[in-house]
Assembly symmetry: C2
């Protein structure tokens, strides 16, 4: 079954202690859509300006991503520039130029409205809700978010949470949202806000699923070298929902399998700047790394 992905489509200028890469293809929807495309057909919803490079459109197309929902308007594409410190864990934003993204109003083509799996990748929660308003009884909805929305759009986010099946957020965001320092307790509290499933991302330490059937501790694939972690979280959730859309059996089992696959796609994402490594990966390489990760986590 297919997956609808809405989020940001951006140009990322990424500086690390070792290299500088201007105007890479980035944004939450780009990373998530490419990650999901390894497993299921993807429909993209986003907006780009008239400066958006043609090769990036072709990149989406090579991954079979449906672009009927990608608006192309006059103006500049959303541009983000950031710099990582030596240990690659801390980053600071150098520039945020919203461009055409400032007036983004996601309008779904008719053919998109019955997509069974919906990923509301990281954008303003009011836009995420607006997309849900246009959907016809989706089977499973996952929302991702970030600290920015907890700070400036908390009420919108709380409204959204009543309408989603799963929320994905990182550990510090889970703490901020609940005021609870213990991540296990924080995940439990978030259920009370709406989502039946809560997935807490912990970067290199993996992720934790909390749901009605219990918890799942998902390991991260141990990497010897991280080139650029930008988009790793988006790749994780993209791989997760793509895998979920093709799964049979119980939701909980499918989520476990999806998280492991998402974790592996995220590991590839970290091995190159922007989408450079992810777009070169094959499904076989993903399954090979999944098998290795399973072997490493086998008790």
């Amino acid at each position: 079954m297919s997956v609808l992905v809405v989020g940001s489509t951006a140009l990322d200028s990424i500086k690390t202690p070792k290299a500088e890469n201007p105007r890479l293809l980035g944004g939450s929807a780009s990373h998530a859509a490419v990650a999901a495309s390894f497993f299921a057909p993807v429909k993209l919803v986003g907006v780009v300006g008239d400066d958006f490079p043609r090769p990036y459109v072709q990149l989406y197309e090579r991954h079979g991503i449906d672009l009927a929902g990608l608006q192309r308007v006059t103006g500049q594409t959303f541009h983000w520039a950031g710099e990582y410190e030596v240990n690659m864990n801390n980053r600071r934003t150098l520039t945020t130029e919203l461009g055409v993204f400032a007036d983004f109003n996601p309008v779904l083509p008719d053919a998109y409205r019955r997509t069974p799996y919906v990923l509301l990748a990281n954008i303003a929660p009011s836009l995420q809700s607006h997309v849900l308003d246009q959907m016809q009884r989706p089977r499973f909805v996952i929302a991702d978010t970030m600290d920015l929305w907890l700070n400036i759009a908390l009420d919108d986010l709380l409204e959204l949470l009543k309408r989603v099946d799963a929320l994905v957020l990182n550990d510090s965001e889970a703490r901020q949202l609940t005021g609870e320092d213990n991540v296990v307790v924080a995940a439990r509290r978030i259920h009370q806000l709406g989502p039946r499933y809560v997935i807490v991302k912990k970067g290199e330490h993996g992720s934790l699923l909390s749901g009605p059937e219990g918890r799942f501790i998902c390991p991260a694939y141990p990497l010897e070298k991280v080139v650029d972690p930008t988009g790793a979280g988006d790749s994780f959730v993209g791989g997760l929902i793509g895998c979920l859309a093709t799964a049979r059996g119980s939701v909980e089992k499918a989520l476990r399998r999806g998280m492991v696959h998402g974790s592996v796609v995220a590991s590839f994402c970290c091995e190159g700047f922007g989408l450079k490594r992810t777009t070169k990966v094959t499904r076989d390489e993903i399954e090979d790394r999944v098998a290795r990760l399973q072997a490493m986590a086998r008790i």
Copy 2:
């Protein structure tokens, strides 16, 4: 088969934001010996002063711990006092009074010298080596350490590392020892210093085994409440070697199983001050939690 445990035997005064507990039974050897005793017979090597409370001796005895190697000398027992911050991750030392520990010279009773499994719990690496000098062809030797010895006794530690099968240390210590920020690479580098097996502890994020057969990602048991993490690392390595001493099959498989059991004993340790919770646990409760952890980690 039995386990020899050498390390510190101390009185710990522990302050948290919620409570204060003076002169609890503590020290690396106490935590490790009690943890190991759930799985195998334990022989303790340590030193206490004439102020060491009789109930603490009885506590060791209730766990069937052989005390022939516990020296009782005139003077004060090693006393450590520390305080935890609200999130229980940061602690600061308030007092360190070495007492009789300052002149500790571990001398092994004859009956100890052929013990097949040896845990060199956290003490000065020169003392750890001195214990090894007295052993007759042990089957498997694990050494634990701490940042203090990296700072003041690095040469002694490097000498020791050539003689042990496994080194256990936490992630920041692995980074410090190798000058390598990536923990996976750091573990690999430590093999070159001697140990065939390297176990990196990551607190609430679990631990990582690196060995000739590959890696094992060991999850931590997710706790909703941490009362006092003092001794959790010692409990982990104690449970690990106790479990290892009773295992059949390959070393690597036994280490995986041992790490999971150690992880569970450590989780109980965190649920009470000092050894209060650990000493109340039954083997059945440990196996029950191991089964839960296995279910949570199953992909």
